[in-house]
């Protein structure tokens, strides 16, 4: 069981750094087509920020901020965004994940619709990767034992 760190330097540095890490992760997701990165990489950086929180502030504090049930819903929402966009393209008489058909809904030229569709896909992938990474780390660090407050 990971407890909260006694060291004031580690706690303060982590508390200052985590918002900037998450901002950088959003930048990586948004600029995935200009610079290296994309949905998976941005999601990994978001998950790394949560792992940093878990290492420095202990499991109890992290579970109070980011609950296990909430992160499961978040990961499922990312999957729903991905498959939903693909299904909308299918309904609009295109292939699965054929973003250029989205121009009917978005009222833009097909090339712009393609760019926006890819951005939506990347957002869903980022959500899911972050949630699954955090969930796996939480399961490993608790050693498979269920705490009592989750039973009720």
């Amino acid at each position: 069981m990971i407890r909260s760190s006694d060291d004031i330097i580690i706690g303060t540095v982590a508390r200052v750094m985590i918002p900037f890490i998450q901002l950088f992760a959003l930048y990586v997701i948004m600029h995935g087509h200009h610079s290296p990165g994309g949905g998976f990489q941005g999601g990994v950086i978001l998950g790394a920020s949560l792992v940093l929180l878990l290492i420095t502030h202990g499991i109890d504090e992290t579970k109070r901020l980011v609950s296990e049930k909430g992160i499961a819903i978040f990961g499922s929402a990312g999957l729903l965004i991905y498959s939903g966009i693909g299904l909308i393209c299918l309904i609009l008489l295109g292939n699965y994940l054929d973003y250029s058909r989205l121009y009917i809904l978005l009222h833009v030229v097909p090339a712009k619709a393609r760019s926006l569709g890819i951005l939506g896909i990347e957002t869903g992938v980022g959500f899911t990767v972050m949630a699954v990474m955090y969930s796996i780390f939480l399961d490993i660090s608790t050693g498979g034992e269920l705490p009592e407050d989750e039973e009720e």
Binding site: I2, S5, I10, I21, F24, V28, S35, P36, G37, Q41, I45, A48, V51, L52, I55, T56
Partner: protein, 86 residues
Amino acid sequence: MSEFLIVIGMALGVLVLLVLYRVVFGPGVYNRIAAISAIGTKTLIMLLIMGFVFRRVDMFVDISMVYALLNFIGCLAVAKYLEMER
């Protein structure tokens, strides 16, 4: 200019080999952690030098920032593990 940067990168590579000795034979685990952290820092500088050589610094700055971040978190995680072992 490019040759100068490549020579600096090769010198950093040789320095990584020197620090690798401390990782393999170093007495105690804390020396090893410090040496791995130093290798990560040198790798970061080599990534930036590669960015200057390829004239794509804007891309390699992103990669090196992620590398520094993961190096920091990994170092912290190993330290936490050792604290729990005690």
